[in-house]
Amino acid sequence: MALLELKNITRRFGALEAVKDVSLSIAAGEFFTLLGPSGCGKTTILRMIGGFDEPDAGDILLDGKSLAGVPPEKRPLHTVFQSYALFPHMSVAGNVAFPLEMARLPAAEIKRRVAEALSLVHLGDKAAQFPHELSGGQRQRVALARGLVNKPRLLLLDESLGALDAKLREEMQVELIAIQRAVGITFVFVTHAQDEALALSHRIAVMRDGRIEQCDEPDKLYTQPANRFVADFVGKINLFDVEVLAAGKAALKLAAPGLGEIAASDPRPLRVGERGAFALRPELIRIVDQKEAIELKNRFFGRVKELLYLGDVTLYKVELANGGVVEALMTNAAPGRALFHEVGDAVAVCWRHDAGVYLRN
């Protein structure tokens, strides 16, 4: 049975439907992420799970029992707030002890559990410090320890890494995975950063305008996006408007203005003449010399229009003869050689027939 279930949740603020008919099922021990652009309703969903807001329609079940009418202080789950919300008049240890005191544990037990939680987040030596004496990353870890110490059924994390700089953020991502694995508590994580979602989660629900567009494992989400929005929001991608010329599992033919005829594959029965989009990841495209013989069905000639050197990889923008532009990502893995192509080079871009995905409109 699912640990947490959202059944057709809707939440309206006046005329605005912030959350529209959302259903989710989260298993015990899962690291589940709500991903979506600003204002898509992530925090609203989290607040309803936490009990700070009630859905206008639908139900939230924990262990199969409805949480309707249960106030936040009675729900066996904790939230790590985006602003951390540490108590400024309590020390680090005082903050972490708070939920244990609320649960009326004996003093000795509280002391032991606080020490345990602080060492879990590597803050054993900061117990007597006050929140204002800590760095952003340390505060974040105190908030995490405070949320975990009482072993809740569920931990809700709202943009918890949002305020950290890039390097610290990466460190905390690694730590968050390790901590979640160590304590075995179910995490519901909210972020608008797709790379973070991919790195951390077992499963991700991509949201737009209060709706869930796709809910899948990270690799599925990345390689088989359900629609244009997901394809575009998660990772970098080339999107072309296309029309189906010939259907067939491995013999799909698509007409793309500005590009030409694309050979692709799709297991679904498609109708000739239907319109959609063709989505292709830049790293699945190869750039070669025009003269190079190559065994790939998809090959288009063009010129390097722009390039973005990123150290480990280079992003090439290639303008094709028909006017379309393709972005390709190449690793710079050849020793002693910085770039394979220069701006203005005549090149060919090519990819396997099963590299891209056809998305129905």
Binding site: G50, F52, P71, P72, E73, K74, H78, T79, F81, S83, A85, L86, F87, P88, H89, S91, A93, G94, A97, F98, P99, M102, A103, K111, A127, A128, F130, R146, N150
Partner: protein, 277 residues
């Protein structure tokens, strides 16, 4: 270049701080010193001070020689403490309410709190005389306390409101999320974080109340006079300026000692909290 700029900054600092400093020296420090000097002089035959160089410690001898003065001091102290406590109890819910009102209504409510200052202090006290007289409560300690609380309540409300308004609502949400019911949230989060506001308000109420003479003079009886009345009596009725001066100095010293104790206590509290687990 940098030197010129730093000198310019130095000059600006002086230009800005000089006028208020001069004002305070002329109208606060000098009079205070004159009062100190007066307390060591002898009273003149018809008021004022006896001609220079007559001087003595009579005022202090007198002051410490009679238990009645200690009694009056103790009574003033008790009235000030009681007034402060009542102000805290009355101001807290109101300050909380204002701080939790929609922003638009908040300004209006603050305006209402300070509105009484728009009418004359004495007029307002006379209004109380009209109210308390028919109820047979005039010239009682009760009337004095009512007057004191009435006059000083805004000085408790404003700092408390300023403090409560700065509380992050996320603190209370976090406390609730972590299992704290409503009263616990208040006593463990809101109240301790509002202590600086309570301290500030208490100082603003306690210090004027302990020395004020107008309220006890108009609302209180002749039996239970307070230190403020006593000082006024020495200058205007008994014509014993040195004794009045000595009483003023004693009052100032008591208030300063209390203020120092409060500051020291507040600091110790902070450090103590830091050392605890």
């Amino acid at each position: 270049m940098a030197e010129v700029r730093s000198r310019a900054r130095e000059l600006t600092k002086w230009a800005v701080t000089l006028p208020p400093t001069a004002f305070l020296v002329a109208f606060f420090l000098l009079p205070a010193l004159i009062v100190v000097a007066a307390s060591f002089r002898e009273p003149g035959e018809f008021g004022g001070l006896a001609p220079w160089p007559a001087h003595s410690l009579d005022a202090y001898r007198f002051l410490f020689g009679d238990v009645i003065y200690l009694e009056i001091f103790a009574r003033s102290f008790a009235v000030a403490v009681l007034t402060t406590l009542i102000c805290i109890v009355l101001a807290y819910p109101l300050a909380w309410l204002i701080a939790h009102s929609p922003a638009k209504r908040r300004d209006l409510m603050v305006l209402l709190v300070v509105l009484p200052f728009a009418s004359n202090f004495l007029v307002r006290i006379y209004a109380w005389i009209m109210l308390l007289g028919p109820a047979n409560l005039l010239f009682t300690p009760f009337a004095v306390i009512i007057g004191m609380v009435y006059v000083h309540l805004p000085f408790m409300i404003l700092p408390l409101y300023t403090n409560l308004e700065n509380h992050d609502p996320a603190w209370l949400e976090a406390a609730q999320d972590l299992g704290a019911p409503a009263w616990t949230r208040f006593w463990r989060v809101t109240f301790p974080l509002s202590l600086p506001g309570i301290f500030a308000g208490s100082a603003l109420v306690f210090i004027p109340v302990i020395g004020i003479f107008a309220v006890p003079e108009l609302l209180g009886g002749t039996r239970d006079i307070l230190i403020g009345n006593l000082i006024k009596q020495q200058f205007l009725e008994d014509r014993d300026w040195p004794l009045g001066a000595a009483l003023s100095i004693l009052l100032t010293v008591v208030v300063l000692v209390l203020a120092a104790l409060a500051t020291w206590g507040a600091r110790r509290r902070r450090h103590g909290a830091k050392a605890a687990p």
